[in-house]
């Protein structure tokens, strides 16, 4: 899995994790220093490296899944402090279970399940603490803050964004400008930014979507 370059992608918000992680170098078992293409490591391989004590692997793992874990308590409309608790507890639980995950390649599902249960726990504790009253009843009455359909869909969203992390930068940029920007750019604007003829953008766009689709199907 080692390659010659360290390609830590920028997040959707444009922050560069490369600067933060400073271009990590991972050592192979032979002791040679090799740059690791973290993007190409599977979730299972990341877990195994974390369990082996690689701090860099843990940083990549947190970065890879932070949005997935954060979205779940946010969707349940927990207060900010409770969202933070769920977020931290979910990753702490993962740290506790690194050595024991039966299917490390299904980490996404594990994290969703754990975050869901931590959200339920906070929600349940609040209902008990507040006692009978409108707020508690409202909490209990909303028995499906995290319906299964949503939990399945949020995993799909994450898988798609993960695919974007792995696709070539030019394709990623086109797809982000067209489908993820607050205000999608026009073909002319994109062509101008990329220095390409506007007429070639459509087939390029289709090709990029096709590549993303292949990545998702092979994952």
């Amino acid at each position: 899995m080692a390659s010659e370059q360290c390609t830590i992608p920028a997040t959707r918000q444009g922050r560069s994790t490369l600067a933060m992680l400073g271009g990590m170098i991972a050592r192979t078992q032979s002791g040679r220093g090799l740059r690791v293409d973290w993007n190409e490591l599977s979730d299972g391989e990341l877990v195994r490296r974390c369990a082996a004590g690689e701090r860099a692997a843990w940083s990549v793992l947190v970065r890879r899944f932070e949005a997935l874990v954060y979205t779940i308590p946010r969707r349940a409309r927990l207060p900010d402090a409770a969202v933070e608790d769920v977020f931290q507890t979910t990753f702490l639980r993962l740290l506790e279970h690194l050595d024991r995950l039966q299917q490390p390649d299904r980490l996404r599902e594990w994290l969703v399940t754990t975050a869901k249960f931590e959200t339920w726990r906070v929600w349940r504790d609040a209902a008990r603490r507040d006692g009978p009253g409108d707020d508690a009843l409202e909490l209990v009455a909303d028995t499906q803050p995290l319906p299964d359909e949503f939990l399945a869909e949020v995993q799909t969203w994450h898988a798609v964004q993960r695919g974007l992390d792995r696709i070539e930068p030019r394709c990623r940029q086109i797809i982000e400008w067209l489908y993820l920007a607050e205000t999608p750019l026009s073909y002319d604007e994109i062509a101008q930014r990329l220095g390409m003829p506007a007429g070639s953008l459509s087939p390029t766009r289709q090709r990029c979507l096709g590549k993303l689709r292949v990545l998702l199907e092979s994952a």
Partner: protein, 171 residues
Amino acid sequence: MHEADDAHLQALKEVLARSRALEHAPEHLIQKAMNAFDVSRRPTASTAGTPSPLQRLLAVLTFDEIGSALSPVRASGPPTRRLVFSAGDIDVALSVTLGAMRGTWRIDGQCLGDDGPGDVQMMCGDQRLEAPWSAQAEFSLEPVPPGDCRLVLRTARWEINLPPFELPPPG
């Protein structure tokens, strides 16, 4: 603006648009989660050499949603009763729905807090069922007759007894 795409690409575009709902955590939270690695990986006393005695725990019912399955008037939507039990750091969630066989129930459950292999034993009425759970610690039990139900969950390290709960005859 865009030429017609096939159904697959169209579906992908729709998922991409919906994926914008993913929210990124504040940076200080991310850093805190990253830093937790240093604390957690400090050497601790190894338990490999000394087997721990089996822990026997009694769970407490912490949540019980009685849905339309048990009410005299059937509401729209699938009848479901959800129960959550807690025993220390371990939670057990059960979902009770109508069974495929007339007059019975189905129990789907999940154990959170331990990822090791385990199994569940159930006594409901005079029916006894056993099932191992999956890698995600999920299990299903069917057919479950009406009556008083007791479940026991076991791993190599602990055994959790859930307090009894009653399942009436399906209406």
